[in-house]
């Protein structure tokens, strides 16, 4: 549903560099102007916290699914609602809502970590609209998980309908799945480009194009990607002598765009887990049968990995090695958001596995609000020089 408007049309007719600049500006705009335009046109918004959310359900109800992933803002309103020892994204996500930068009809969080599961009751004490937890299965290997998740999606669909006033019909949901299949296919093509010809797309640009999939209506994201991808592909830039690295640790709180840019100046970031929830489903979801069952199947059987989902088949360090090998990388940047328990816990397993294979890695912590990168840049440059000349 478009409500007769385009929320982001500034890029139309612009050259590639200008389009990418506009995308970067939009990603860094903490006032979410496109979401405001959507609301001004009468649109409803379903906010969903990291990591994965079946956006198709919100879309099929005619609402805009909006990824809530924090922002580089000062938590002036939300700080008093939290104690110490917490990651930044928890605070700044609530800040976005308390400061009315984003307004919602429904907020959904997930038990991805011990802090995030708290967001539903906290949010619920501060806002009148429904604030929910979506219990995605942690026992992915149980033969009962698919039917449970199908029921859970059915429940969520009902909640979305009540909150937005929309109706989710099976046909509408199949249509939405088809659109998101296209959006994800375009993002997969983008990541193929990162892996095969990383000199054609800067790390921060690839990041922004993925990030906008969580902000824009999916139809607009598809149009944007279909406009940009052929132009990126046609670029004649030449390969430079840079180290090919994997960035791991961006599944929830996001590093500042400047950090990604800074990393991209020294290395080719040939794969990563940044905003992995937007790319969680790895192949097209079936649009022929029961769409809820198809969504559930995709979450469990056609999916990527992250430190916040347990699956006996996805030992995290083995998955990282698979990502590393698949991208032809030479080194790994292991990052974790400050105070991010799952990320920090995973780092130990990652470092041990990489050590065992003799894969160079660089360990770091980040925070979405950090503004000084000089020390980090120096460390990265030293790491890269060691790889190139050591």
């Amino acid at each position: 549903m478009s409500y007769g408007i385009r929320t982001f049309d500034e890029w139309e007719g612009q050259d590639l560099d200008e389009v990418l600049r506009l995308c970067r500006d939009l990603v860094e705009d903490v006032d979410f102007p496109t979401v405001k335009r959507w609301r001004e046109a009468g649109g409803k918004v379903v906010g969903h916290f990291q990591v994965y959310f079946p956006q198709e359900l919100a879309h099929a109800a005619g609402a805009l699914p909006l990824k809530i992933r924090g922002a580089p803002v000062e938590p002036t309103h939300s700080d008093s609602r939290f104690g110490s020892y917490l990651c930044s994204i928890i605070k700044t996500s609530l800040e976005l809502a308390l400061s009315k930068r984003v307004e919602l009809e429904l907020f959904v969080t997930h038990p991805i970590c011990d802090a995030a599961r708290n967001l539903a009751p906290i949010w619920g004490r501060n806002f009148e609209y429904p604030c929910q937890i979506l219990y995605l299965p942690q026992h992915a290997n149980s033969k009962h998980a698919p039917s449970y998740l199908r029921d859970e999606y059915d429940r969520l669909a009902e909640v979305i309908e009540q909150a937005t006033g929309g109706t989710i019909t099976p046909d509408a949901l199949r249509h939405s799945i088809g659109l998101y299949n296209r959006s994800r296919a375009l993002m997969r093509a983008l990541y193929d480009m990162k892996r095969t010809t990383p000199w054609k797309v800067a790390a921060e640009d690839a990041y922004c194009l993925v990030s906008l999939s969580g902000v824009l209506p999916v139809e607009e994201h598809i149009a944007l990607m279909e406009y940009v991808m052929p132009q990126l592909q046609a670029r004649t830039a030449r390969e430079e002598d840079r180290v090919r690295v994997i960035f791991e640790g961006g599944f929830c709180e996001q590093p500042p765009l400047d950090l990604i840019r800074s990393l991209g100046r020294s290395c080719y970031v040939v794969d990563d887990d940044l905003l992995i929830g937007q790319r969680w489903v790895l192949s097209d979801i079936d649009t022929s049968g029961d769409p809820l069952a198809a969504l559930a199947h995709a979450y469990l059987e056609q999916s990527s990995y992250s430190p916040v989902q347990h699956d006996d088949r996805k030992l995290k360090e083995a998955m990282l090695e698979q990502r590393f090998d698949g991208a032809g990388a030479k080194a790994v940047v292991l990052a974790a958001a400050k105070m991010c328990e799952p990320g920090l816990e995973e780092q130990v397993a990652y470092t041990q596995a990489l050590d065992k294979r003799g894969i160079p890695f660089f360990v770091s912590e980040f925070e979405e609000n950090m503004s000084s990168f000089s020390q980090l840049e120096l460390q990265v440059e030293t790491f890269v020089e060691n790889l190139l000349f050591g």
Binding site: R81, F82, C113, I122, P137, K143, H144, H310, A349, Q352
Partner: protein
């Protein structure tokens, strides 16, 4: 009611039982046999005991290191191994315990052959994944127990949504039974399960009654200090006859104390609720900061969630044990989750039930499940109820973030306010 009941026997018998549990674990280790590692929320002790599996509660073995003031040695070792200072102290202490081949200040902890963990705490999941890497072979079993989706929006038996969740839980229990059969070589015995569930029923009934009894004036036990002893027994001996008998005798003792007007302090001046996880590195001293002012903890959310939701007193239907086990575990673990995430409503109800004078919120570095929402819950409580409250931060394991002097300053100021408030209300002269 008997008149020859020894006051304090519950604590003494609890300590004896707890030590026997540890001694048994040491024996298992000495025989080089494995154990089932489980957690306090959704342990399924009833089922595991029906397979005669020895059960280790890593949360309990870890907290004992802090109580015995050696946690820092274990934390340092885990941090040297690469674990961040900012993650759960229980996990790190346990990592070092595993690296030390189970060497613990109370004995020796056997290796895991099964790790059973619910999703009630995400750290459980990451913890089990660590064991998966440290021990080979170990079977890890994620036990999904869906929680409350929205505050106040719980579903109940009889509704389709509840049945969807219950069916999922039951299906996993049946899968776990197959795993246990494979690990132990024993066939599942449903009558044995009925027996352990029957003991659990008796214990749950007593646990619920125990908590209710502390509404008495004066309160009959300290929810923070005595309560932790009861929690240890309640978890380790759930599903055993010894556990059932212990709690029945404990209730008998507390009924007696209530009747005789025997409290925990010479003068109970301030009735408090404790919200959070205890400060184990200075466990006794922490309580004294309050008891020195005549303050006693009559209730705590800890006794609710760390009992795995036993506060509900759920009674299994032994005529349909597996179905009922699924229903009971779903309701109990969900309730435990609510006690951690929705502290505002839990505490709000405690205020009248326990005639509270104040509420102590104690978020800690190690546990974000319990701590993340405490500041906002306190804000809501102050806005809507007006009951005095104290917000102090420390940790359950890491003495580096426990500042006794700062805690004392805050606690003293809190009590000065309470005394002044009572003085103004004409309650203290």
């Amino acid at each position: 009611m008997r008149s020859d009941i020894e006051v304090g026997r519950g604590n003494r018998e609890g300590a004896d039982l707890f030590r026997s549990w540890f001694n048994n674990l040491s024996d298992v280790r000495a025989r080089n046999e494995g154990a089932a590692y489980v957690f306090v929320m959704g342990s399924l002790n009833e089922l595991l005991l029906s397979f005669d599996m020895p059960v280790v509660f890593p949360e309990i073995t870890s907290l004992q290191m802090a109580v015995r003031r050696v946690a820092h040695e274990y934390l340092d070792e885990a941090e040297d191994h690469g674990y961040s200072p900012d993650i759960c102290g229980y996990v790190k202490a346990d990592v070092a315990l595993q690296l030390r081949k189970g060497q613990h200040p109370m004995g020796h902890v056997p290796k895991p052959k099964l790790a059973l963990y619910t999703n009630a705490c995400n750290t459980y999941i990451k913890w089990a994944e660590i064991w998966e890497r440290m021990h080979d072979p170990v079977k890890i079993f994620a036990f999904d127990v869906p929680g409350t989706r929205q505050v106040g929006g719980q579903t109940w038996p009889g509704s389709q949504r509840f049945e969807n969740d219950r069916r999922y839980v039951e299906g996993q229990i049946r899968e776990l039974i197959e795993v246990c059969e494979g690990l132990t070589g024993q066939r599942f015995n449903i009558d044995r399960l009925r027996q352990t569930m029957g003991y659990a029923n008796r214990m749950s009934l007593s646990w619920k009654r125990l908590l209710e009894l502390n509404a008495n004036h004066p309160s009959v036990f300290n929810a923070l200090t005595d309560g932790t002893i009861y929690l240890g027994v309640g978890n380790a001996f759930r599903g055993t006859e010894a556990g059932a008998v212990y709690f029945e005798r404990l209730v008998e003792e507390m009924e007696y104390k209530a009747k005789m007007g025997i409290g925990t302090l010479g003068e109970e001046r301030h009735r408090l609720a404790f919200v959070g996880v205890p400060c184990y590195p200075i466990f006794r001293r922490f309580n004294e900061l309050f008891s020195d002012w005549g303050g006693t903890f009559v209730s705590s959310t800890y006794l609710w969630f760390a009992s795995g939701g036993a506060n509900r007193g759920f009674q299994y239907d032994l005529d349909r044990p597996i179905e009922s086990l699924a229903e009971g575990v779903l309701l109990a673990v969900r309730d435990a989750g609510d006690s951690m995430l929705d502290q505002y409503n839990v505490v709000r109800n405690m205020v009248d039930e326990f005639k509270l004078d104040g509420v102590v919120f104690h978020p800690i570095k190690s546990c974000r499940t319990v701590s993340t929402g405490l500041a906002d819950a306190r804000r809501a409580l102050m806005d809507n109820n007006g009951i005095p409250s104290l917000f102090i931060e420390s940790d359950m394991m890491d003495r580096r973030v426990v500042s006794e002097a700062q805690l004392k300053n805050r606690v003293d100021a809190f009590f000065e306010g309470l005394e002044s408030r009572k003085l103004n209300a004409g309650e203290v002269h």
